[in-house]
Symmetry: none
Subunit: 264 residues, 2 copies
DNA sequence: GCCCGCCGTTCCGTTAAACGAAACGCATGG
DNA sequence: CCATGCGTTTCGTTTAACGGAACGGCGGGC
C-alpha cells in the first residue's frame, strides 16, 4: 500500500501558494484527480505541504461536508456537498457550451484552428480555443500570462477597438517587443495600423509573432455593439497563406455574431 | 438590473463562518447556483459578507483561474479551472462508488454494457461505465473530449431535457455531423425527436452513431425532479436488437431512480 | 454641464486565523 | 519489547485575513 500519487503538472505548486484558500483548493484538486480514496500521507507526498496543515485543511472540509472518510477507513473521499457543488458548476456552464459549440462548428467547416480571446490586463488571453485536426500545431504559451497584443491579430483588433483614452494609455506602455522581422515595433506605425483595422473591420497577423504563422481576427460584439472579444483563425502559412485566411472572413463574421449573442 | 440573488437554504450562513477557506467556498457555491454571471454587489446581498472581503476572495479566484470575468463586464463567471475541477469531482465521487455498485448490479442482471453520462460543454461525457462480459466491445473515444450528442441515445435524452433556452441555443449550433445513414442531420427532425423523447421518457439510438450498435437511455433525476444525467444500455445489435433493449427500460428506470437518489 | 449616488477598488491599522516543529497515541510487526 | 509509520494534538510564532473608510469612475437626473 505504498502507492505514489502523482501531482498533475497543471496544478501549480501548491506548497508555494501563499493563500490558505488556494492551497486548500489545490489539495482538493489533487485528491479529486486521484479517482479513489486518498490518505493524508499520500497527499503529503503529492503536495509537499506539512502534515498539520494538511490535516487541518482536510478535517475542515470534512466537517463542512465537502469531504468524507472512506467507510471503515481513514482515507478521504468526496463528500456530498462537493459532489453537489460540482454538479451545479457543470450545469451553469451552458453559455460556455454554446460558445464552444459555435467554435467547433466553425473549425470543422474551415479546418483551421480558431480561438476566442479577450484583452486582460493589457495582454491577450484565450477564452476558448479549438484546434484543427492537423499534425502541425503550435502551442501558445497559455497558462498564467497571456500573449503580447501588438503582434497578433486578435490583440491588435482588441487594441484598435478600445475607447481612445485606454487605447492611448496602453499604447504608451506596451513594450512592443520584437519577435520576428515583421513585428510592428514603432508606436506610430502601430497606431495607424489600428486605425486601419477599425475602418476595415478585421485584423491580420502576417508572421508578426511567429514565423510561418498567420492569423485573421474579427470582432465579437455585444448586443449593444461594443467589441467584447475577438474571434480569430490561425494557421501555418504553408497551409493557410494570408490570402486564404482572408477568404474566411465572412464565415468568421457569422460565427462572431452568433458568439456575441451568447453574452449578456 | 436590480435582481436579487437568493441564498439557497442549504448553504449554511456564510458570514458566520470563521474559516476564510469555507467562506470562499460558500461564495463559490452561491455564485455557481445563480447559473449566470454575478456581480460583487449581488454577492454582498446574498452572502452578507463585507465588500472588501468578497472582492479579495473573488479576485483571488480570478487570478487562479477558478473564476473569470464576463467579457465586457465586471460580473464573475465560472473559469476554466473550476469547470475542469467539477468534472473531476463528478468522475471520482464518493457516491460514485455507490453508483458504480448500482451500475454493476444492473449490468450483471441484463448482461449488457451500461453507462452513466452528463452533458458538458455541449458534448456527452461518461461519469461511469460498466462493460458487459462479452468479447465484442466498442471503445468510445474517452479521454479528453466527449461524444456528439445528436446521435447517441444519452445525448439526445439530455438535450431533450435541457431548459428551453439552452436547448434552442445548442440545437441551432450543433454541427449534426453524419456518422451513419441513420444519423439525424436535420434540425427539424432532431427537434421533433427530442419532443418525442420528453413525452415517452426515454431515448434510443438505432445505429445512428456506429453501425451495428444500438442504445436506449432513460433520465436520471435529482430529488427535485431535474434531469441530471442519463443512464443507458448499449450493445451490438447482433446480440441486442433494439426491441430487446427496449424491454430493459423498466429495469433501467429502477436503476436510474436508485442512482438519482445518490445525488444531493 | 454639474451633481449625486452606486459600485468596484484600494488603503491600512487591527486581529485572529493559519502555520508547522515537536510531541503524542496507537496501531503493526519484527 | 522496541522500532516504525501514520494520524492526531499542542502551542508559541507569524502572517494573512479582516473590514471600516476613503477613493474613483461611470451613469442618471436635473
Amino acid at each position: 500500500m505504498n502507492r505514489v500519487l502523482s501531482l498533475p503538472a497543471e496544478i501549480p505548486e501548491i506548497a508555494g501558494e501563499t493563500s490558505s484558500t488556494l492551497k486548500a483548493f489545490g489539495v482538493l484538486e489533487v485528491l479529486v484527480r486521484a479517482g479513489r480514496a486518498v490518505t493524508l500521507s499520500e497527499l503529503m507526498q503529492a503536495t509537499d505541504l506539512p502534515k498539520p496543515t494538511l490535516h487541518r485543511t482536510l478535517t475542515l472540509f470534512e466537517e463542512a461536508g465537502f469531504l468524507a472518510r472512506e467507510p471503515g477507513g481513514r482515507a478521504f473521499i468526496i463528500g456530498e456537498r462537493l459532489s453537489r457543488f460540482a454538479l451545479d458548476v457543470l450545469r451553469s456552464d451552458a453559455a460556455a457550451a454554446q460558445r464552444r459549440t459555435i467554435l467547433r462548428a466553425l473549425v470543422s467547416e474551415i479546418t483551421e484552428t480558431c480561438n476566442l480571446a479577450v484583452l486582460k490586463k493589457g495582454t491577450l488571453v484565450y477564452l476558448d480555443r479549438v484546434e484543427a485536426p492537423w499534425p502541425l500545431r503550435l502551442h501558445m504559451a497559455e497558462g498564467g500570462g497571456g500573449l503580447p497584443p501588438h503582434c497578433c491579430a486578435s490583440g491588435k483588433l482588441l487594441l484598435a477597438h478600445l475607447p481612445p483614452p485606454e487605447r492611448q494609455g496602453l499604447l504608451g506602455l506596451l513594450p512592443l517587443e520584437r519577435f520576428t522581422e515583421r513585428t510592428i515595433t514603432d508606436r506610430a506605425v502601430l497606431e495607424s495600423e489600428l486605425d486601419r483595422i477599425v475602418s476595415v473591420g478585421y485584423a491580420v497577423d502576417n508572421e508578426e509573432y511567429v514565423l510561418g504563422v498567420a492569423c485573421v481576427a474579427v470582432p465579437v460584439r455585444s448586443r449593444d455593439g461594443d467589441v467584447i472579444a475577438s474571434l480569430a483563425v490561425q494557421g501555418a502559412t504553408a497551409r493557410l497563406p494570408l490570402m486564404r485566411a482572408i477568404e474566411f472572413i465572412p464565415r468568421l463574421r457569422a460565427a462572431a455574431a452568433e458568439i456575441g449573442s451568447t453574452f449578456g
